[in-house]
């Protein structure tokens, strides 16, 4: 049996009757018994599912200039908050979960840009560089996830010459379940995920192993539980080192809520396509009041379309600099549902949102 861990791994769908009650259970897979699925196909699919699915963590597009003042200096230009479980198997030395991060950007011809990705335990993916043709280019980086799980993803940008403006257009990050061969994970006590291996793999002269069946069941459940979807993952792109705190008037932000368009902000609306079993969303909002002195602003995040009242929103109080975590209950029904962020206070200063993450919470 071959484990499908390469990029071309195919899923073997099942048909009615493949495991019918009037048919003997086939041990061999479709490769040994054409046109009849067997339990070896289940093992193959288990590994293929884990190796090939790559749920999205960050999907963010816009247009922003990241000015790299001094050559070869790393400037923090994006900070995404996202919460992900840790490694599949904390004892494994290979085959760890990792993030595949793509940055799409360009700068003036004759110059290069150098992105880096860093996860919340300090693991850095570096050594990536663009061409110097001045055209739009997507660089794909891979960075391992921390043992303890991911809290945030930090991106930096450097350039080959002083005063280089790097135009960034897209950041995408997906979590990949393994970086090596799934078979290398082996069988380790206490692991979250049990890839079926040769010691329990069914053969014609061996009774079906209980561990094998439990592995198949647990793998499905784990895959569903661990792949909660990211719904919104936006942050400002620019120099994060100078853009927060009292008195800031920088335009670096993803959303501005001025005092004059309170509660009219229909543009801060997003779509949620619900998945079964998800009852609430986890939201993280990093915002501040421009030129803050003592005012407290208030944002509400909840479900509700186009001017309708929000259903049980989460409240976000905004001051000098705030980072708020809350939970938004998911409405019943098939969806799509509409998420909105609105401002409800009457203070004078603008509220600027630096980062917003909304992800599924699967319990």
């Amino acid at each position: 049996m071959s484990y499908s861990t390469d990029s071309g791994g195919a899923f073997r769908p099942f048909r009615q009757g493949d495991f019918g009650t009037r048919r003997p259970i086939q041990v061999g897979g479709q490769t040994t018994t054409p046109y009849a699925k067997g339990i070896q196909d289940l093992a193959y699919n288990q590994l293929t599912l884990w190796a090939q699915t790559a749920p999205v963590v960050v999907s963010d597009t816009k247009e922003a200039d990241v000015v790299c003042t001094t050559a070869a200096v790393d400037y923090i230009f994006a900070l995404y908050y996202h919460f992900l479980p840790g490694l599949l198997n904390e004892d494994a030395t290979t085959g760890r979960r990792y993030l595949q991060v793509e940055v799409t950007a360009k700068c003036a011809s004759g110059r290069k840009w150098y992105p880096e990705a860093q996860t919340s335990d300090g693991t850095v993916a570096d050594g990536y560089e663009s061409n110097d043709l001045g055209n739009l280019e997507t660089i794909v980086m891979e960075v391992e996830l921390p043992y303890s799980g991911l809290d945030y993803l930090l991106l930096t940008m450097a350039a080959s010459a002083d005063a280089t403006s790097v135009e960034v257009y897209g950041v995408t990050a997906r979590v990949l379940q393994v970086s090596g061969n799934l078979g290398d994970l082996g069988d380790v006590a206490g692991q979250y995920f049990s890839p079926v291996d040769s010691t329990v793999e069914p053969t014609a002269d061996r009774p079906l192993h209980v561990q094998f069946v439990r592995s198949l069941i647990g793998a499905n459940q784990n895959l569903y539980n661990r792949n909660g979807r990211s719904i919104v993952s936006f942050c400002q792109w620019g120099n994060w080192g100078t853009s927060i705190g009292a008195g800031v008037t920088s335009s670096l932000n993803i959303f501005t809520f001025s005092a004059t368009n309170i509660n009219q902000a229909l543009e801060h609306e997003w779509v949620y396509f619900p998945r079964p079993g998800v009852r609430r969303l986890r939201a993280f909002c990093d915002a501040y009041m421009v030129g803050w002195t003592t005012e407290v602003g208030r944002l509400l995040l909840g479900f509700g379309d186009m001017g309708n009242a929000l259903e049980i929103p989460v409240e976000i109080d905004v001051g000098l600099k705030d980072a708020t975590l809350g939970y938004v209950p998911v409405p019943e029904g098939p969806g799509p549902h509409f998420l909105r962020l609105i401002r409800t206070d009457t203070e004078t200063p603008d509220i600027k949102v630096m980062s917003l993450t909304i992800q599924e919470e699967i319990e």
């Binding site: 195919a10 009650t21 699919n45 599912l49 895959l223 979807r229 719904i231 009219q264």
Partner: protein, 196 residues
């Protein structure tokens, strides 16, 4: 929309009780059938979706530089796109054919049904952001490239593999503004093609 496989509605992922599997228990076809159905649901129904664009002031990407990637599930071919958008309300007749364009998988779809802001007779109009509405690329009739604002066909034929596809977004001119954008891969319709 959920898809029925094997005559069953497998739109809902269901759990199995692993504790039921014990030494000495006779392995049942039903047990493996449930595992197989769960695998199929995870593979083809738990599709990729995300919001990918958000801009307070409205974005008019006219040169196709907005790039994202979409992960197709096995046997899936299409993705739906949603844009919270508005069209310049001044000189509506001249601006009637402004469009949003998405490109990917060698196909192009354009939607010209972009709501205009109301006129400038005292109401909120272009320049304000109050009247943006959702423009949806949905439906597969006609297939492929069109100006009908259909789902984007990202893979020519059903295939049992996962596939990451780049998609670009642009608008016809600065008379169109985008405030939000989202996508969802369509789970495959009908039975799955089986290769022996």
């Amino acid at each position: 929309m959920t898809v029925a496989y094997f005559g069953k509605n497998t739109g809902v992922f269901f759990e199995d009780d692993a504790t039921m599997v014990r030494n000495g228990t006779v392995a049942s076809a039903e047990l493996f059938s449930r595992i197989a159905n769960n695998q199929t649901w995870l593979a083809v129904q738990d599709v990729d979706a995300a919001n990918f664009l958000s801009d307070t002031y409205g974005l008019s990407p006219t040169s196709g530089e907005i790039t994202l990637n979409v992960m197709l599930s096995p046997f899936s071919q299409y993705a739906d796109f949603w844009f919270l958008a508005i069209r310049d309300s001044d000189n509506l007749a001249a601006n009637a054919y402004e469009y949003i364009e998405i490109n990917g998988g060698g196909q192009t779809q354009r939607a010209t049904t972009i709501p205009a802001g109301s006129n400038s007779s005292g109401k909120t109009h272009w320049g304000s952001i109050r009247e943006a509405r959702w423009v949806v690329f949905q439906g597969t009739q006609g297939d492929g490239t069109s100006n009908a604002g259909l789902s984007l066909k990202l893979r020519a034929n059903p295939d049992p593999t996962w596939l990451k596809v780049a998609v670009t977004v642009q608008v016809s001119s600065t008379k169109v503004k985008l405030f939000s954008g989202a996508y969802q891969v369509q789970s495959p319709k009908g039975s799955l093609t089986v290769s022996a």
